[in-house]
Every structure is written in structure tokens, then in C-alpha cells.
């Protein structure tokens, strides 16, 4: 699983996303809210002529209703990626770095918080720090299951 990774934080948790799954990281300014949809949908934002559906990663993972440690950054950094033909902006707390990590993916150790188990299948270590490996596929599945529940 070595390659170029985007290292980010979602609600305080360090995650690594493969850069070939990410189109860009942008700072979103204005967003139009979308009423009466799932709570983790923050709104719509324009990125040039594209319209991003902006979702809050922390709210998705923890569920918006629960008193989760949803420390959302004030600057609304969004990871832009395309899932199923639609463009999404996934709000993260912070983006730390982009690094080539030359290490094998490790199994998840320790009793991981319930909510993370669905999304994090493996861990990768960089400079002694562990990161959850998040993939678009795991997020997409998350969308589908949440939608079915809604």
C-alpha cells in the first residue's frame, strides 16, 4: 500500500487518503444549505462551474446527532473527489501534508472506536505516527448505507 498519501484529520483522528482518489483540496467560502436531507450534508458549493455536494466527514462518521467530537475547522477545508459521477467536497478538520509513504498497510490494532470500524480497514504508519487508511470506496459505502437508513 505504498504510494502518495494525503494526510488529514477528521475530528481529531489522523487519516491517510491515497492522492489518486483525491482531485484537490480547496477552501470553501460560500455554501448554499440543503434543507431536509441527511444532516451530514452541509450544503452545495461552487467550484468553478462545478457544484460540489459538501459533506462533513466527522458528521458522517460519528453521526450528526450524537455528541461526537466534531471539531470542525473554521476554515472549511474540503477534499474534492468524484464518487459515482457526482462531485463531493468532504470537509475535514485539517490537511497536514502530502507524503510518499513507503510502508505496508497494517491491520488495525487495539479497540477502535465503534464508529471508525466501518470506514477504517487498515492503518499506515508515517514517521512513527499511525494513520487510518480511508478510501473512497469505504466512504461511498457509507453514503449508501446511511441513505438506505434515511
Amino acid at each position: 500500500m505504498s504510494g502518495l498519501y494525503l494526510l488529514a484529520r477528521i475530528a481529531g483522528t489522523a487519516v491517510a487518503i491515497r492522492t489518486d482518489e483525491v482531485e484537490a483540496v480547496v477552501r470553501l467560502r460560500e455554501m448554499s444549505p440543503v434543507p431536509s436531507v441527511a444532516k451530514y450534508v452541509v450544503g452545495l458549493a461552487a467550484l468553478r462551474s462545478r457544484v460540489l455536494t459538501v459533506v462533513d466527514a466527522a458528521a458522517m462518521i460519528y453521526g450528526a446527532d450524537e455528541a461526537a467530537p466534531t471539531v470542525r475547522s473554521s476554515e472549511d477545508l474540503a477534499v474534492v473527489c468524484e464518487i459515482g459521477g457526482h462531485s463531493y467536497g468532504i470537509l475535514v478538520e485539517s490537511v497536514d501534508d502530502i507524503q510518499t509513504i513507503d510502508a505496508p498497510a497494517l491491520p488495525v490494532c487495539g479497540r477502535v472506536d465503534e464508529v471508525w470500524r466501518r470506514y477504517a480497514a487498515a492503518v499506515i504508519e508515517h514517521e512513527g505516527q499511525p494513520y487510518f487508511i480511508l478510501s473512497k470506496a469505504s466512504f461511498f459505502e457509507g453514503f449508501l448505507t446511511t441513505q438506505a437508513a434515511a
Binding site: 434543507p35 436531507v37 450534508v41 452545495l44 461552487a46 468553478r48 449508501l144 434515511a150
Partner: protein
């Protein structure tokens, strides 16, 4: 290799679609050598290509077909219908194989040899037939334009590339808008401004051009039809003449995809249920061959597709009986429906009027699916049925799915868009014709005696209302199930052409959005789905449908002996009513605009002077009032202002007077509810409001010398003021014998020949001699009198 293969598949599929028509046309006219050659070339090409692509089954099939066609080309036999059927079967198999190759599935295991043998057999049979003189009578089929379209040069482009281009151009438009905003702030350099304008124009042109790349000729939509008609009519033993018209109309390619299925379904229905068998047609005194016409035309931003047959039409009573027996409605409910509503019952889900399930239709996929599919893309389906004579199904669909005219509205501080086509009417909630009542949480709005379910958009989307000055707006919105409902919104902002994109599944999951759009201000907006809102709000729309039908009939009945009138209070206090059709608008006019001159009242309105209704004394307007409510009354010629104390309501007024009692201003009394109201004598009002010496021009005046300054500056305005049309000599070849020609100089022979009346004008006060019949040009009264006399003489002659 892969690329070659996919290109081969794409090309073959496209040719197959076009060639089905060629085959059908060939069947109709077996002597057409060009069609035969075209068909032959196709199989030849396929055979050649699949040789090196290593597709043995393709090769075998196309080889067999090529052989047979080649023999026919050589003069051995004719392409009769069994042969064509066999050729079509081979083509279908090739299409199946293409689909399999494309999807990467295993090739369907069916025996190609059987098809090939069938082909041979038909052909051999045909060969024997040649001996007998029984050559099939060619059936007239109007050929589609598929061949002419090949003449234009085209290239194949992936759709993704076009979408990318579209996005690029949209980016450019947004960037341009941003630059425009920035430019507005800074001090303007005229040179920069003109360069920017040019750039801006280029971008707009480019956007138009790119959006055209999405357009496609409608004949692609019609491509499959001849084959369907042929196969179905053969299966049913009916004889049908198909006419296709308007294939060169263009529409969005996605739209073409969406309309294909409903159209095919309607065509199948027409063939199966509409057009009778030859015997039935003979008995009914019709031609044995049924007519089926399919046409497309553009009407504004819509494409109108019509499928017309001359079959038996829809048996409305049978449909109604079916609805009752299926337990969808009771007999009473059905009986209360208007004729139109009964016809529309054909769209009821789960209904098939076919007496038995045939292979063609009646498999439960009915007109309801057709309607749902068309409405999903913002279209409308309507029926015109003449029992025994035929049925016309009209589909109106928007030109494109991606750009629609939309209304932008605001609710709870958020902006939303709604397709313009979904909105029937917009009213303010303080409109006197609207009353809103709440009962147990449900809101009913009554507009002009029609009850509607109402819901506030803020309640649907769960956001608090934003208080703002001014009335809220009520939109009468079409719902998918027929009965419109009312959507209350904060206010309607404006109306814009919107580029619609699909929204993400998480957003669509709510069911109240149809997509999203990025207007020119760069702030993304959601497009509301009217049907979805009605569902989300659980408005009871179906049961109300019955009431609507009843209301319609009642209204129709009532309309026969009433007219719509506007009830108002005169400045003098009487309650009176005037025909609404005479009132152009109602407006508040400042008191200062009223004036009086030569005993006649007038009003200054927007830089014009309008006569004011004579019998109203301006002095009666209370001095503390700054504005007077005025009705603008007009017919086709006269326009005047009718000041009133207040306007009350719109009523249905019986034409027959309750009590005829002409007293100048009123012609009599009518009863509205239990009130007695005076009816305004419209004739008297209009007569009093006109100019006193209102001329009745009966003729055109032709001024022969259009170079003369006096004619231009003095004479023409004089005539125009008197109400005559003035035509200049240069245009005189358009003049007719009814014209009156005014000559100042030059010869009159040209006009005399035409028999026109001639008036000569002279600059001198005195005539030059006793024979001089000319009029002094300064004698305006004499001139006008002369024209009027000549005009009358002409009119009576």
C-alpha cells in the same frame, strides 16, 4: 485491438438501426435498387471487418445474408416479405452479438444455422415464386430521411468530451461574470470596456454553439418506428401506412433517449387498439389500410410530437367501465367527471382496455407509464379522440433536459428554483380572489371558487419562515397526479434560464429535489420537484380529482349564460359592475394628474392624456386622498380612465339583467348572490370617453410626391392626426382603388388608371381658372371634408 473492436461494434450498431428502415422500405418497394445495394454493402462491410477481428459468428451470418442479397442483386428473385423478415432476423442476431461483445458477456448460445437456413429457405421459396406472376403489390411507405442525413460530414465524439467542453464554457462564463463585477468597481477605461464586451460576446456565442453539440435530429428518435410498425402490423394482420414528418427538428440527445420508449409504446397502442383490422375498416367504410402519422415540430422551447391514427379512437365509456370494475372509482364518481377527465382516465395506473392480452400490448405497462415518463422530463401528454375516426396523442417535451426556463423563489431565506413549466399561476396571498383557511393543520386555499390543497415550502423543507415586508406568494403548481396544488413561498425573485445538473444521491434521497443548478451569480441552488413536494407533504391530491371534474362541468355550464365582471364602488357610492374584458388594468393615479379642459375631464398617465369618464365629478374625490383608484377601460379603439372609490371583486355575472332600467350610467340591475348591483352601460362609457370629432377613416391617403418638404412636414401629420393612414407615393404600387391620392404636382395618369380618387392641392389661395378643381393647401377644413366625402362615396359605391 480493443479499440478496433469497440469501434466496430459502435458502427455496426448504428448502421443496424438505420438499416432496419432500409429493409422495411425495400419490402415496400422491391424494385428500388439503391436500397438493396445499401443493405448489401452493410453485410459486405460487416463480413470484411469481422474477418480480421476474428468474429466467426458475425462472419457466418453476414456472409449468408450477403449471398442471398447478392443473388437478388443479380436478378435471381425479389426481396419479398419472408426474405426481408429473414434478413431482419439476421440483423437482430447481429445486434444481439454486438451487445454481447460490448458488455463482455458470453455470446448468447443460439443456433445461427437455423436463421441462415431460414434465410436460404425463404430465398429459395422466393425463387420458385418468380415463375408465378404473383409479385407483391408494393405498399406505400413514406421513407424516413435517414439517407439524407448521411450526406453531412460528421465525426464521432465521446459524450464525455462534449460534457467537458460544456463545463469549460460554463467556467468561462462564471469567470467572465466575476471580471464584469470587478470591472464595474474600478474606473472605466472605454477601450478595456469594449475589449471586454467583445470577449463577453464571444463567450456567449461559444456557449450557444457548445449547447448545440448536444442537439440531435429527431429522426434518430423515429429510426426504430418503421420496423416496429412493420413487425406489429404483420403480427396483427393489419395493413398500415406510416408517415413520418419533421425528422430534421433537433432536440437534446438525452431527451431523445427519454422519449423513445413512450413513443414506441404509443405507436404500439395505436396499432393494437386504434387501427382496426382490414375487415372492420371495410365495414366502417374506411380505407383498408390504416393511416399512422408521426410528426415532430418545434414550438417555442418545446418539441411537439404527435402520433395520429385513423382508427376507432378511445371508447370513453369502456374506459370508464373498466375504471369502475377495477374498483379505482365508483360509478357515481365517474359519472360526475367531465368528458375530458373521462378521456384522461386512460392514464389511470393499472388499466388496460385491451379485451385480451395480446403479444403487442396489454402487459400492464400502460399509458400511465407513458405519462409518468413524459412528465418526469417536464413534458405533457394529451389526447384528442374522435370515436370511430381516430386518436391523436400529443407529447410536448422540452427541447433539452439541461437548460430549462425556471423561476427562482425564496423561502426561509434560501433560494430555490422550480421549472417554469410546473407553475400554472402565481398570486399574492393578499389578492382578494384568494382565501386561505386552516383546518386541523391542513391548509386549503380557495382561488376563484376552486379549492386547492396548500402547503408552505418552509414547512416542507423544515426551515423557519423569514419575516419580510410585503405579501407572500402562492404558486399554483402542477402535480404528477393531475390536480394542481398550492405552494406558499416567501416571494418569487425572478425568472432565468437554468442549466440543470443531477444532484448527488444523498440530496435526491429527500425526494423533493429534481436537481441542482448554478446560476450566473455563482451561488448553487436546488431545483424543486413539484410532484415530490406534494408527496412529501402528503397532500390528498387524488380524491380531489373528482371534485375538479365536477367543478369543470359546473363551470362550463355556468359559463354559457354568464360573463366575468368586475364589481366596484363608484366615487358617488353606488355599487356597480363592469365587464372584466373591458378593463385593461386597475391602477392608482395621483390626484394631481387629473385635470379638466373645455368641460371635459382628462388624466395624465405616463406622458399621455387619456379622457376621463365624463359623468364623474373630479371634485368628489376627497381632498385628503392622494391617489384615486382608476380602471383603465378600453375596447379596440378607445381607451379611457374610469376613477372609482374602490374595486371589490371579480364575479360571474348573469348576462340577463334582473331589471332593465337604463338611466344613463347604468343599464339595469343584476343580482350577485343576494346583492343588487348596477351594471355599467359600457357603450355609454366608451361613447362618452371618445374624442368629440372622432373621424371614421374609410380610406388610405396616398401622397404622391414624397420628396416635397411641405407634404412631409405639414400635410402628412395633418392627415395622420385626422386618423387616416398615410402612404407615400414611392409605395404607391401597393395602392388600391379605395385610396385617395393627394397630388401637389406631377401627372395623375398613373393613379387615374387605377381608378383612385384624386385631390389636387395648389399653393395659391385662388384657383387658376373655373376648371381648376384643386383645393388650396392651406384650407385644411376643405381638404379634410373633401377626403371624408370622397371616402364615403367610395365606401357606398
Amino acid at each position: 485491438m480493443d479499440e478496433l473492436l469497440s469501434e466496430f461494434v459502435a458502427e455496426t450498431k448504428e448502421s443496424l438501426a438505420a438499416l432496419a428502415n432500409v429493409a422495411v422500405a425495400l419490402e415496400a418497394d422491391p424494385s428500388d435498387r439503391n436500397l438493396l445495394d445499401e443493405l448489401f454493402r452493410f453485410f459486405h462491410t460487416v463480413k470484411g471487418s469481422c474477418g480480421f477481428l476474428n468474429l466467426p459468428r458475425f462472419e457466418k451470418l453476414s456472409h449468408a445474408a450477403e449471398d442471398v442479397l447478392s443473388d437478388i442483386r443479380g436478378g435471381d428473385g425479389t426481396p419479398d416479405s419472408p426474405t426481408i423478415s429473414a434478413v431482419l432476423a439476421v440483423m437482430d442476431r447481429i445486434a444481439d452479438l454486438c451487445a454481447a461483445v460490448e458488455s463482455g458477456d458470453a455470446l448468447p448460445h443460439e443456433n445461427d444455422d437455423e436463421l441462415i437456413q431460414a434465410l436460404r429457405r425463404c430465398y429459395d421459396g422466393a425463387e420458385e415464386d418468380v415463375a408465378s406472376p404473383d409479385i407483391p403489390v408494393p405498399v406505400q411507405t413514406v421513407e424516413s430521411q435517414s439517407r439524407s442525413s448521411q450526406a453531412s460530414r460528421t465525426i464521432r465524439l465521446p459524450l464525455a468530451l462534449i460534457d467537458q467542453l460544456m463545463n469549460g464554457v460554463s467556467d468561462m462564463v462564471l469567470a467572465r461574470n466575476e471580471v464584469a463585477r470587478k470591472l464595474r468597481g474600478s474606473s472605466l477605461d472605454p477601450e478595456l470596456e469594449s475589449v471586454f464586451d467583445r470577449l463577453s460576446g464571444c463567450i456567449a456565442d461559444m456557449r450557444d454553439t457548445i449547447s448545440k453539440t448536444r442537439m440531435q435530429r429527431v429522426d434518430r428518435l423515429f429510426m426504430a418506428i418503421p420496423r416496429v410498425v412493420r413487425d406489429v402490423s404483420r403480427d396483427l394482420g393489419k395493413s398500415v401506412e406510416l408517415m413520418i414528418d419533421g425528422g430534421d427538428v433537433e432536440m437534446d440527445r438525452e431527451m431523445v433517449e427519454m422519449v423513445v420508449d413512450p413513443l414506441t409504446h404509443i405507436v404500439r397502442n395505436s396499432l393494437d387498439h386504434g387501427i382496426e383490422t382490414p375487415e372492420e375498416r371495410r365495414k366502417a367504410g374506411k380505407r383498408e389500410t390504416g393511416d399512422l402519422r408521426i410528426s415532430a415540430r418545434q414550438s417555442g422551447s418545446q418539441i411537439v410530437i404527435e402520433v395520429a391514427d385513423d382508427g376507432r379512437g378511445i371508447n370513453v365509456e369502456a374506459v370508464a367501465a373498466k375504471v369502475v370494475s377495477a374498483g379505482i372509482m365508483t360509478a357515481q364518481e365517474v359519472a360526475q367527471l367531465s368528458e375530458r377527465a373521462k378521456l384522461d382516465l386512460i392514464f389511470t395506473p393499472g388499466l388496460s382496455t385491451a379485451r385480451e392480452v395480446t403479444s403487442v400490448s396489454g402487459r400492464g405497462v400502460g399509458m400511465d407509464v407513458v405519462r409518468a415518463n413524459i412528465e418526469r422530463i417536464g413534458g405533457v401528454v394529451s389526447l384528442t379522440s374522435e370515436p370511430g375516426k381516430g386518436l391523436v396523442v400529443t407529447m410536448r417535451v422540452p427541447l433539452t433536459l439541461t437548460i430549462i426556463p425556471g423561476l427562482i423563489l425564496s423561502a426561509g431565506g434560501l433560494n430555490f428554483a422550480i421549472p417554469r413549466s410546473a407553475v400554472i399561476e402565481i398570486l399574492h396571498d393578499n389578492n382578494p380572489t384568494v382565501s386561505v383557511a386552516e383546518l386541523g393543520g391542513g391548509i386549503t386555499a380557495t382561488i376563484r371558487n376552486m379549492r386547492y390543497s396548500m402547503i408552505d415550502l418552509e414547512d416542507v423543507i423544515g426551515v423557519p419562515r423569514v419575516e419580510r415586508a410585503g405579501p407572500r406568494s402562492l404558486m399554483i403548481v402542477r402535480s404528477a397526479v393531475g390536480r394542481p396544488f398550492i405552494l406558499g413561498v416567501g416571494h418569487v425573485e425572478n425568472h432565468e434560464e437554468l442549466v440543470i445538473r443531477p444532484a448527488a444521491p444523498v440530496v435526491m434521497a429527500s425526494g423533493i429535489y429534481a436537481g441542482m443548478t448554478l446560476p450566473d451569480n455563482g451561488q448553487p441552488m436546488l431545483l424543486l420537484d413539484a410532484g415530490g413536494i406534494a408527496q412529501a407533504a402528503q397532500l390528498p391530491l387524488i380524491s380531489e380529482m373528482v371534485d375538479q371534474g365536477k367543478g369543470e362541468d359546473a363551470a362550463e355550464e355556468a359559463r354559457t349564460d354568464t360573463y366575468t365582471g368586475l364589481r366596484f364602488i363608484e366615487l358617488t357610492g353606488e355599487e356597480r359592475i363592469i365587464r372584466l374584458s373591458l378593463v385593461e388594468r386597475v391602477e392608482d393615479v395621483p390626484v394631481g394628474c387629473f385635470g379638466e379642459s373645455a368641460g371635459r375631464a382628462h388624466v395624465r398617465l405616463g406622458g399621455r392624456l387619456l379622457p376621463c369618464v365624463g359623468h364623474v365629478d373630479i371634485g368628489m374625490i376627497p381632498t385628503d386622498q392622494r391617489e384615486v383608484t382608476c380602471m383603465r377601460v378600453r375596447d379596440d379603439r378607445r381607451e379611457l380612465c374610469y376613477p372609482v372609490a374602490s374595486v371589490i371583486d371579480i364575479d360571474e355575472v348573469p348576462v340577463a339583467l334582473g331589471l332593465a332600467m337604463p338611466n344613463g350610467a347604468a343599464v339595469g340591475l343584476v343580482l350577485i348572490g343576494d346583492r343588487q348591483v348596477e351594471v355599467v352601460d359600457s357603450l355609454a362609457v366608451l361613447a362618452a370617453g371618445g374624442d368629440r370629432n372622432d373621424p371614421v377613416p374609410v380610406a388610405r391617403c396616398v401622397i404622391a410626391d414624397d420628396q416635397d418638404t411641405w407634404n412631409r412636414e405639414i400635410l402628412a401629420p395633418l392627415l395622420a392626426q385626422a386618423g387616416y393612414d398615410v402612404v407615400w407615393g414611392a409605395d404607391a404600387n401597393t395602392s388600391g382603388p379605395d385610396d385617395i391620392v393627394l397630388l401637389t404636382s406631377g401627372d395623375e395618369e398613373v393613379y387615374e388608371k387605377k381608378g383612385a380618387a384624386i385631390i389636387r392641392l395648389r399653393p395659391d389661395a385662388a384657383p387658376s381658372g373655373p376648371a381648376d378643381m384643386s383645393i388650396c393647401r392651406y384650407d385644411g377644413d376643405a381638404l379634410l371634408q373633401m377626403i371624408s366625402e370622397l371616402g364615403k362615396r367610395r365606401a357606398t359605391a
